[in-house]
Each structure stands twice: as structure tokens, then as C-alpha cells.
Amino acid sequence: MTANLGLLQIPLTNDFSRKIIHVDMDAFYASIEEREHPEFVGKPLIIARDPSDTGGKGVVTTANYSARRFGVHSAMAAQKALALCPKAIFKRPDFTLYRQVSQQVHQIFKQYTDVIEYVALDEAYLDVTANKADLASAVMLARRIQKQIKQLTQLTSSTGISYNKFLAKMASDYRKPAGTTVIMPKQALAFLHDLPIEKFHGVGKKTVPKLHELDIYTGADLQKLTELTLIQRFGKMGDQLYRHAHGVDLRPVEYQRQRKSVGREETFGQPLMTEEQVQAELRRLAKGVAANLAKAQLHGKTIVLKTRNRDFETVTKRLTLNDYIADERSINRYAQQLWQDSGDLSKGIRLLGITLTTLNPIAFEEIRLPLFKSSNQR
């Protein structure tokens, strides 16, 4: 395939017509905690369970800028963060609160556009090419959103504005916190020219050394390579790198992004030790999953049971069915079946989760013959 590519000239078309804002909340969880606990302000704050409570387990969810100066970053082992910054305050994450604040922020976005792609609780792309405020200047719109977020939540955010998602994301990252960066089509190549390769979205820890091997350190180095070289070396990702290096990213803002799975899981402070407890929890989770599915108007074909015991050994078992299911009873039945097949109580259960995947919108339902009285669910 790739060999033939030498003969092919893949057109590199660009689209400068869109206006996309990437909004990134600044140290979102940490900032919320500082707002709730003014005594934390100015001190290094790490959102993670205190490693001395967990026996060294757990990872950093995020850290405030003060802690980041010590080299602490998200996904780092909490133990290591403690070593880097022994004076840091550890705060157990409160996702319910973070979700609430995130919802408030989303409400602000919705005043301006419906084309919003939520990447995470603290991050979203907004396509404001056409916007409800009828503002021609996306920069003014971004500033207005940031101001409104600040007024409503007392939190700062950074925005990046450009003609595609990749550049908008790069821009929001350029000046933090509370920055507003715009990359105009004319500026894009120059901006990318000086950008260190590590900053490119999608270039991870494993790719950086490979790129360095090829003498690629900045966007300028990347721009010199042909698409063929990058594809041969990095496959699909190479193609993406090539496009990004030339400021091309035609991905739409996916405001109707399809969910891949719907699930619920629960961690138990007191590990479950009996069959009855597990069954009761599975019933509760099944009810929750069914409720989530109903809300999203989805049904699924694959059911996944996740268990974790006291030794933190995590096991997931899956079962793919012939028919789509969405109701509490079926979800519970198959989850119980997976538990009967693979469950192990000997080391207690500290986490249980049920997830449904291979999802599909409920656009149709195959009607069943009423063969058995018990199966007359409808």
C-alpha cells in the first residue's frame, strides 16, 4: 500500500472558512478546590488521595500551577508527586462537584452555538462560524465566554481560536492561564514552524524519541518531510502529523459524537464479601445503566462486567449477545451470568462495574412472539 503511495499525489486541501474556539479550563479541578477552600490558595495543591492514606496507591488527577512548578503533573503516581513536593496539600477529587461546574460552563457555551464537542469536563471545541450572538469576531466571542465563565464560576479559562480544531487546541495551550490566542490562516505555518514537536497534539512520550531520531525537533523540521516518509514511518498517525504540520485538520466539531459505551461502576470503601451483597450491587448498577441507556436512547449488544478485588487485581469479562438489550432485567441477568461464570469473592470486591458497548441508537426493535409468559416484557 505505502509503496504505491509514491505514485499517488494526495491533494492537501485546506479549509479556512471555519471559526473554531477551543476552551480549556485552567487547572480546572484544582481551581474549583481553591475556590471552595480559600486556605489552599497559594499553596501547592494536588488533586489525588493522600498517598499516606492509600498506602502509596493512586495517581494525580491534576495539580494547581503552584504544584506544577515542582514538576507535578496529571497521571503521575501520587507517591512520586509527594516526593517531588512534600509540602503539597492532597485533596481527594470530588467529581460530582466538578461535573456541576462543568454543566454551568456548558450552559454558557450553548448561548453561542449548538455545535459543541465536549472532550472532557474541562475542555470543549465550539464551532462559531455561525453563532447565535451573530458576532463576526471569534476572538471577541471567546473573550466574552471567558468573562462569563469567570463571573459565574470565578474560574479562569484559556481559549484558542483558529480555523480548525488542531490549531485551536494548540492556541489555547499557548498562553495559559487566562490566555486568548488566535491563529489566523496566514500565521498558521509560522506558528507551527517554531512549535516544539512535543507540543503537537497526538505526539506522545513514545513518539517523541522516534521523531528525534529522524532529527525532528520542531514543526519546521516536520514540514520538511514528505507525507510518504511520515506514513511509512508512523502509519496513519504519520499522515495526521503531516497534515497538522501544514495546518490542515478537516475534522468537524462533533457535536453529536456517538457514545461508545454506557456504564456505571462503584467503588466500595468496605469490600463486598458475600454473594448477596454482590448480587444486590449488580442489580443497582443494572438499574443505573438501564436509566442511562434510556436517557441516551441507546441499546447495546455487548455487556462488560468489571471487578476489582482488595489486591487491586482488576478483571473484566464480556459477553456479546445476538440481540440488543437496554432493559434493567436483561442487563442484570447477563451481568449476573458473567459474575457466576467468572466472579471470585475470595479476595473481596472493592469495585464493581457494568458497561454496555456495541451501542446503537434505538431506531428499531424486533418484535418478539409471546412464546413464554415470563418473556412478555412488552
Binding site: 446503537n360 434505538i362 431506531a363 428499531f364 426493535e365 424486533e366 418484535i367 418478539r368 412472539l369 412464546l371
Partner: protein, 379 residues
């Protein structure tokens, strides 16, 4: 044990018996084939515990060219044995069991020695003695199987639905299968004793295998039923299957007796149209086809669509469209299976409402064969 035999005939019988042998059995000796030689002839046996097949090669039938040196029995590894036999060089072959169940196979200048097993350890097949045997025309039985097994469930969650329900009463044989989305029912009149009555569920898989073992030269099949086994005797082949335990759901009430919209099609023509329409619906997650019937305009149209690929629309050739206007959606796979079971005939399709099952019957004979399909509710 020692004999020589005409190889082509032996290969054919081996193939028949091998249908019952699975390499994945939990009982090791069942991966083997049993050969038992008496003065009357050679009996081959294969089994996977669900199905057992016996094939007899008579010593008195000269076509078989069976020359008996000494009688006896042996179990040989089925896969190796049959592969070897198929590849032996000459028209005849000789088999001789030596010490420690070592078995020598010779043909021309080729000679194999393979390790056999003691035939005394091979499970015994049940003996099914009954006066109440039922004789069925082999072609009719094959057709009945083909028409019903398509509707058998492949899901183990309701084991009973993986079988075909056979009811024999008052000289009538009724065969029903359903996977709860479609149902197939076939009725046959049999010239048998009026007081023969049976109600059994035979695994669909067994019937499929039985149908494959029925060669064209077999004219009739004799069915004998015991408590948990059924035996079909066809020529020199005996086919045993276990029966499914439990009560089959009452299905007669599910077949609607009246309809509000009726139309007739040529089965192969409709099948071809459904196959075209399902090209796109298969590409989508929603494998659904929509059918509209408009008697006022005498129009029948199918629609298929895949959001990613495109859509299709086709006006169907039909006759005698009558009744109320209707729009109904269904899974084309069920429709295709059903239509194939009719062969080259005209069929009548009868609907009652968009959310009620509809039926397909041969236009000429509406009483003996019906396919029922449940529609799909679209949102």
C-alpha cells in the same frame, strides 16, 4: 479381525458416519470410529453423544466386495483413518487388527500401521424397540427439515427453541420451529396407524445432519421414538439423536387466522428484490427493510437504506393486492430464509398490522406450510 473391501464404497460409508464425530468431544474414545465385523457384515459407528450414526456394509451384497478373514471389533482415530483410506492407492484395501490393537491398512504396495483402541470401551448405542414405527418419504422429510430448521433458534438461552417440535397425531405430522422472531410450520399427512401419537422436540442440528446423510437413492425413512432418543433408519444408515427435554411453547395460537392486507408474489422474484434491498441495509446497523402496500394504487414498494452508503427503492411485481393500505418494516434476513424455503412457487403474504406478525403461504396449498415473520418497530 481381518477383511478386505472395495475402497470407494468404504469411503462413502466412512463419510456418512463421520458426520457424527466431533474432534472437540469431551469423551476421548468418541474421536474414534468403531468398526465391528460379524459374519453378516461390517458395522461402522460414530458418535458425539448428541448424534450417533451407524452404517452397515453387508457381506452378502456382492457390490461391496467385502471379504471377511476373521471377525472382531476395533476403534480407530476417525480423522487419520478416513484420510488414510481416502488416499490409499488401489481399488481395494485390507484391514487387519494385530496385537495391542495395532491395525494394519494395506492397499497395493502401501502399508500403514495405526494405533487403535479397545472396542469394548466404546459406548453402547441405545436400543429402540417399538412397534409404532413411522415411515416417511425421504424427499418429503428432507423438505420438511429444510423448511423448518431455518426458524430454529441458535441461542442457547432458550434451549428448547434450538429444536424442531414434532407432533404426530391422527395420521398428521406437525413440525414447528421458532426463534421467537419468526416461525415455520409444516403439516404432513401420513398413512400410519391412527393411534400412533408422539410429541417430541428434536435438535435442529441433528435434523440438519440427518438431512445431509439422506442420499438420493434412499426412498423412505423409518422413524422410531423412545423416551429420550429418536432413531431414523434410512437404507443401511441408522441415525440416532437425543431429544430435547421440556415443554415446547404452544404455537398454534400465534398464527393469525385472518388478515387485513393480502398480496401475492412469485417467491424467487421477491427473494431477488429483497436480496437487492438488503445489500444496503446490511451495511447499516439497522438491518431493516420497509415495505409499503397501497391497494388503491395497486403499488407495492420496498425501501432499504444505510445512512453511510445510500438507499434503494424498488417497485415489486405482484398480483391480487387487496385490503388496507399498510407500511411495515422487517428484518430482510428472516424474509430471505423464509422465501428460499418455498422454492419456485407463487406465495401469498398476509398482513394484519404494522406491528403484528405476517404470514407467507404457498398460494396453491395454504394449509400445509406457513412461514410467520415478526415485523420491526421503527422509531
Amino acid at each position: 479381525m481381518q477383511f478386505s473391501i472395495k475402497r470407494t464404497l468404504f469411503v462413502k460409508k466412512l463419510n456418512d458416519v463421520q458426520r457424527a464425530i466431533s474432534s472437540k468431544t469431551t469423551i476421548p474414545i468418541l474421536t474414534g470410529i468403531k468398526l465391528a465385523l460379524t459374519d453378516a457384515g461390517l458395522m461402522l459407528t460414530g458418535s458425539d453423544a448428541d448424534i450417533s450414526i451407524e452404517a452397515f456394509i453387508s457381506a452378502t451384497d456382492e457390490k461391496n466386495e467385502l471379504e471377511i478373514g476373521s471377525t472382531g471389533a476395533i476403534v480407530l482415530p476417525a480423522r487419520f483413518f478416513s484420510e488414510i483410506v481416502k488416499k490409499l492407492p488401489e481399488d481395494t484395501m485390507t484391514l487387519e487388527v494385530k496385537d495391542n490393537f495395532q491395525t494394519e491398512l494395506r492397499s497395493g504396495s502401501a502399508s500403514f500401521t495405526i494405533n487403535g483402541l479397545d472396542a469394548n470401551n466404546y459406548p453402547h448405542l441405545p436400543s429402540i424397540d417399538t412397534e409404532k414405527q413411522v415411515v416417511i418419504d425421504a424427499n418429503v422429510l428432507k423438505q420438511l427439515i429444510a423448511q423448518t430448521v431455518i426458524a430454529v433458534s441458535t441461542q442457547e438461552s432458550r434451549p428448547i427453541l434450538t429444536g424442531v417440535h414434532l407432533v404426530l397425531d391422527n395420521q398428521e405430522l406437525l413440525a414447528v420451529a421458532t426463534d421467537s422472531h419468526r416461525l415455520s410450520q409444516r403439516k404432513l399427512h401420513l398413512d400410519i396407524d391412527k393411534d400412533i401419537h408422539y410429541d417430541v422436540i428434536i435438535p435442529g442440528k441433528s435434523l440438519l445432519e440427518l438431512s445431509r446423510t439422506l442420499s438420493d437413492d434412499v426412498e423412505t425413512v423409518e422413524m422410531r421414538i423412545a423416551e429420550n432418543q429418536v432413531l431414523f433408519v434410512a437404507g443401511t444408515i441408522s441415525f440416532y439423536s437425543r431429544l430435547l427435554e421440556g415443554n415446547y411453547p404452544e404455537t398454534s395460537r400465534l398464527i393469525p387466522s385472518s388478515s387485513t392486507t393480502q398480496v401475492e408474489f412469485n417467491a424467487p422474484q421477491l427473494l431477488a428484490a429483497i436480496e437487492r434491498a438488503s445489500l444496503l441495509s446490511h451495511a447499516s446497523h439497522n438491518n431493516v427493510i420497509k415495505l409499503t402496500l397501497d391497494p388503491a394504487k395497486d403499488d407495492v414498494t420496498i425501501y432499504g437504506n444505510s445512512p453511510d452508503v445510500g438507499n434503494v427503492q424498488e417497485t415489486l411485481t405482484h398480483s391480487n393486492l387487496d385490503g388496507e393500505q399498510l407500511e411495515i418494516s422487517f428484518n430482510p434476513d428472516y424474509m430471505k430464509d423464509a422465501l428460499r424455503s418455498f422454492g419456485q412457487t407463487e406465495i401469498q403474504v398476509a398482513f394484519t398490522s404494522a406491528l403484528r406478525p405476517f404470514t407467507l403461504v404457498p398460494t396453491e396449498d395454504q394449509d400445509h406450510f406457513v412461514q410467520l415473520i415478526t415485523p420491526v418497530r421503527t422509531f
